[in-house]
Amino acid sequence: MLKLFTRTPGLKDRQTHYCPGCTHGIIHRLVAEALADLDVLGRTIGCASVGCSILSYNYFNVDMIESAHGRAPAVATGAKRVHPDKIVFTYQGDGDLASIGTAEIVHAAHRSENITVIFVNNAIYGMTGGQMAPTTLVGQKTTTAPKGRDASHCGSPLRISEMLAAIPGASYIARVSVHSPTHVRQAGKKIRTAFAYQQAEKGFSMIEVLSTCPTGWGLSPVQALGWLAENMIPYYPLGVYKSLEDV
């Protein structure tokens, strides 16, 4: 008996532009594997967003639409309303989804749009050079909060999964992490479940993936995994925040 662990057909055979150790690469693979395993690559439309993953359309082996910053859930809504039979997903970072795009994500959940959102939360703005994000932790140093986030000045970090789970239209909301092989495998399962919700037309699904940004955090890739486990997980607990019973 032989099992081969190798590149999924859901990803193009290309070197990515992501920093060494950036967990975008892992998350891309999990999403692509889910789509390939469900055999829906040929009828999937992905909505890229603005952030480090802006070039994700160069990697996912599906038709893709670039979306302006924060607007991916609205773009996905337009696409899904034209093609209700296709699988439509967005892939967004924390600036895109939790800052400029909060109206769009809330209303996509509110309308229970039958799309799947992959929300990559690394508590920082990576692409633009390490500025503070709404998800940046209190005390965490960033280029626009050089002394660390001060909650009395600009609030405490936003917990998106908890927030969206309170919306009746949200069907499947889960927070996962990718800082260890076990967590990566569990994340893969939840991402697959989210796409299964869409296939079964059960409404809005979102997976929040806690991720690292070694460059932005000023740590080595291996140190970044540890920082995530120590600092992010206590504030952003992992788990399923919303699900439907009969799926």
Binding site: G42, I45, D63, I65, A68, R71, K80, A103, E104
Partner: protein, 352 residues
């Protein structure tokens, strides 16, 4: 076919359905709410989809997503809402996606007023979003013309792969006039091989995008757009001439203001003053050609708008200093009367 008495906004909405619109995403704003309301009721009956977005900003991006995946899609708003859509309009133009955007103008700037205005001329023609792009803008003056321009708008959008504006205003939107809908034959659309619909494992993935980090490639993309705009300038310019032969003064106007101007031309004619109208039916491309025909006895060009002077710039460019050009306008939602325009003409010509 029978003529019906219809409100301008509703006639536009019905014309959209007749033109084959499949998807509408919009947000309520005065004075165009009859459009989403009509479409919410009627579009699903024709197999279309109506969705109220959470904002104009979201609406235009839903239009983008729908157009990118092959939908025949439209949105409508009024001046402040159109301002919110500028980001999406730049993206739609850059991605070369067809769609129709309706602007039922109201007075501005800022939240402004809910009465009619024409203060979005610059927003329509100078591209309110970032980058070098143009959006063909059709400006009807009657409800019948609005209905016809709706079909033209969808055709132009499809032919050139571009967003297209229909520039109406609160007066045209709220008034009622008899209108006739020609029986519309549903022509099969040319296949949109460029749409992102899922590759069915039979071709390379399609990517709809507007970003390019390589300057030479982005420059090439810009050249493609500019080439398209030169073609549109040649083929899609429209205007109307009203009593311009032998006119001593030419008045330029567009939209509902042009109807008031026609009345003032009648008043002047009764007093022995020959005035004529060049009416712009497309704001971009602006009809330059009729201004090349200006000849004696015309001594003056007067631009009349419901704003502080926006089309005036294009008129000046078209006249090229051959004749003096001046401006008369009311703004804030005040609508000029034929009498006051006629009086102003008499002042210019020294007949008062």
């Amino acid at each position: 076919m029978a003529r019906t008495l219809m409100k301008g906004n509703e006639a536009l909405a019905k014309a959209a359905i007749n033109s084959g619109c499949t998807h509408f995403f919009g947000y309520p704003i005065t004075p165009q709410n009859e459009i989403p309301e009509y479409l919410a009721r009627e579009l699903p009956k024709h197999g279309g989809v109506y969705l109220q977005a959470e904002s104009e900003l979201a609406a235009i991006h839903m239009v983008y997503g729908a157009a990118a995946t092959g939908g025949r899609v439209m949105t409508s708003s009024s001046s402040p809402g159109i301002a919110l859509m500028q980001e999406g309009l730049s993206v739609l133009a850059a991605a070369q996606l067809p769609c129709v955007v309706l602007n039922v103008q109201r007075a501005g700037p800022g939240i402004g007023g809910i009465q009619p205005g024409q203060a979005d001329y610059r927003q329509m023609t100078r591209g309110g979003g970032n980058g070098d792009y143009r959006i063909p803008s059709l400006a009807p003056a009657t409800i019948q013309e609005s209905v016809e321009m709706m079909s033209e708008a969808f055709e132009i959008a499809e032919l050139y792969r571009s967003p297209v504006f229909i520039v109406s205003d609160g007066m045209l939107g709220q008034m009622m006039e008899p209108v006739e809908f020609s029986s519309w034959k549903k022509e099969p659309l040319p296949p949109r091989t460029w749409a992102a619909v899922g590759h069915r494992n039979s071709r390379k993935p399609i990517i709809i995008k507007t970003m390019s980090l390589v300057p030479e490639i982005l420059e090439e993309n810009n050249k493609v757009l500019q080439q398209k705009y030169r073609t549109i300038e040649k083929q899609e310019c429209r205007h109307e001439l009203f009593r311009t032969d032998g006119a001593e003064i030419i008045i330029t106007s567009y939209g509902s203001t042009s109807r008031i101007v026609k009345d003032s031309i009648e008043i002047l004619a009764h007093e022995g003053i020959k005035a004529g109208l060049i009416r712009a039916k497309t704001l971009w491309p602006f009809p330059v050609q009729p201004f090349d025909q200006l000849a004696y006895p015309c001594t003056h060009v007067l631009c009349v708008e419901m704003n502080c002077g926006q089309m005036l710039d294009d008129v000046r460019l078209a006249v090229k200093e051959r004749l003096p050009v001046s401006f008369y306008g009311r703004c804030g939602g005040v609508i000029p009367t034929p009498g006051e325009i006629a009086d102003h003409v008499k002042t210019i010509l020294g007949r008062r």
